[in-house]
Amino acid sequence: MNEEIITPALEVHDLTVAFDRKPVLWNIDLKLPEGKLVGIIGPNGAGKSTLIKAVMGLLPLSSGYVKLFDHPIDEVRKKISYVPQRESVDWDFPASVLDVVLMGRYGKLGLFRRPRKADYDVALDCLKKVGMEAYINRQISQLSGGQQQRTFLARALAQQADIYFMDEPFAGVDAATEKAIISLLRTMTEAKKTVIVVHHDLQSVTQYFDWVLLLNTRLIACGPTATTFTQQNLQETYGGKLTLLSDVGDLIRREHFPNREGVIKQPKTI
């Protein structure tokens, strides 16, 4: 886990974020390598969304700094893409699927320029990649949760960025689509893109991610999945909420986890 990362895609140093003086993230220090599929894992309220928002400069930092590709964030905005949590926008907004995906091109277009044919082509291509080509002109208010999520994903893809931050992109997506999206993300990391995904389904972590980042206000661990996604780290991350931890240990080895509901509903005491 201590292997040296020569050219980190993301470097976070001594980051603290507080709301009302109550720290939500405390003293986070980490480096993520380029070209990896990274999972951010932690219980509800652990600060996962806050971490990616802080990294992208959407929230004021109490202390610390963030570098992307060795630059301050504002110098590399064109290389960054973001998939917000689906509930963060109003889906009754008067817009079509294509309108939303074209937003992914706005950063490259700059002020006053309208999307051109090339931008439409990219948008359509990205909609195909997420299997939404049949819904191009559909109003976003008429989409299912999974379709909304795929629209957001297509918008992020249309940016052709170098690093992607995705906040729970699998929430409300069916299993088949989830698999399809993961293989899409794989082809992106093979092309040296860095993809950072907030994820909360422990079952699939070892299958999906090259790296994991275990978070619960503090950074518990960050490193390659094989060496970092361990029983001890999980216990530290979830505290008393994960019971039957010895069984979990067996399951990690077998890559088979109890489902999330089963985990959460356990009483706090062991």
């Binding site: 928002k53 992208m56 064109k78 960054i80 893409s81 917000p84 817009a95 937003m103 706005y106 109003q139």
Partner: protein, 292 residues
């Protein structure tokens, strides 16, 4: 001719307000329009005291600045003092409006301005105040001012369409990809302030509030496409102006009041009969579905 002047001026005000109103509604900031239209009062008075006349650009700029100050105060109270948005809006605009009222009463002798005129306006006087170039009267001043305001707003929306669209729909994403949400927020609020001030003489602050919200709300019910929403809002605003004017003439009542009333009635009609959201339409299609 005077009829036509009044109707055209009202339509220009209505269209300007309707266009901006679409963005206010989509940003869930309808009440901010209300707040600004009241809060600009001290700006108007101060600018009036400094410049000594009503028709100067100072007035527009003064009120525009106060509008931006209002926006800033609302944000500040919400973010730093952790007040609810509606509470911070309420505190800010009543306070600024009160300052305006105090200023007017203090300088009552020097200022040819009173609350009534600011709040209710008098559109019937529009044709009396004409713009004179050389020795030739070329039509009401309000007509030219509102024409310029509407042109400026249309240019703002045409050139800033992408940015307004994105910062309204998904501000966090806009910031992430490097489009300043704050900048576009303040530009929009500046435009609302300028429009309010330019309109207050002719139609009054109360009608501005009605025209900022009702036509845009009507259009929101009629379409799922932002461009059409902007167009429908203008149509609803112009329709309210024209019908309102003739109703006022017929009843021999307040023109501004009749226009505000018609804006409300057009909204109710849309609410009942909108093809997608209409109460009757839904009921009817449900019965039709049950029958088949």
């Amino acid at each position: 001719m005077n009829d036509l002047y009044i109707i055209i001026t009202a339509s220009l005000v209505a269209s300007s307000c309707a266009l901006l109103g679409c963005y206010l509604i989509l940003r869930k900031m309808a009440m901010v329009g209300d707040a600004i239209s009241h809060a600009v009062l001290p700006g108007i008075v101060i600018a009036f005291l400094i410049s000594g006349s009503r028709d100067s650009m100072t007035m527009l700029i003064g009120a525009g600045l106060i509008g931006i100050l209002t926006t800033f105060l609302i944000e500040f109270l919400h973010k730093k003092a952790r007040l609810q948005t509606d509470a911070s809006i309420g505190v800010t605009f009543t306070w600024l409006f009160a300052i305006g009222v105090v200023l007017i009463s203090l300088f009552a002798g020097k200022v040819d301005l009173d609350q009534d005129c600011v709040l209710y306006g008098e559109i019937a006087y529009v044709p009396l105040d004409t713009l004179i170039i050389g020795n030739q009267s070329i039509g009401p001043r309000a007509l030219y001012i509102m024409g310029m305001i509407l042109t400026a707003i249309i240019l703002f929306i045409v050139f800033g369409y992408k940015e307004l669209f994105l910062t309204t729909f998904d501000p966090a994403y806009a910031t992430a990809i490097g489009i300043s949400t704050t900048l576009w927020h303040y530009l929009l609020m500046g435009a609302v302030s300028a429009t309010t001030v330019a309109s207050f003489e002719s139609v009054g602050a109360i009608l501005v509030v009605a025209l900022l919200i009702a036509p845009a709300a009507t259009a929101y019910l009629l379409t799922d496409n932002l461009k059409w929403m902007l167009v429908f809002a203008c149509i609803a605003g112009v329709a309210a102006s024209v019908t309102g004017y003739y109703i006022a003439v017929w009843l021999d009542g307040s023109i501004a009041g009749a226009i505000a009333m018609m804006a409300g009635i057009i909204f109710i009609i849309a609410m009942l009969f909108s093809p997608t959201h209409g109460i009757f339409t839904k009921k009817f299609s449900r019965t039709a579905a049950a029958d088949s």
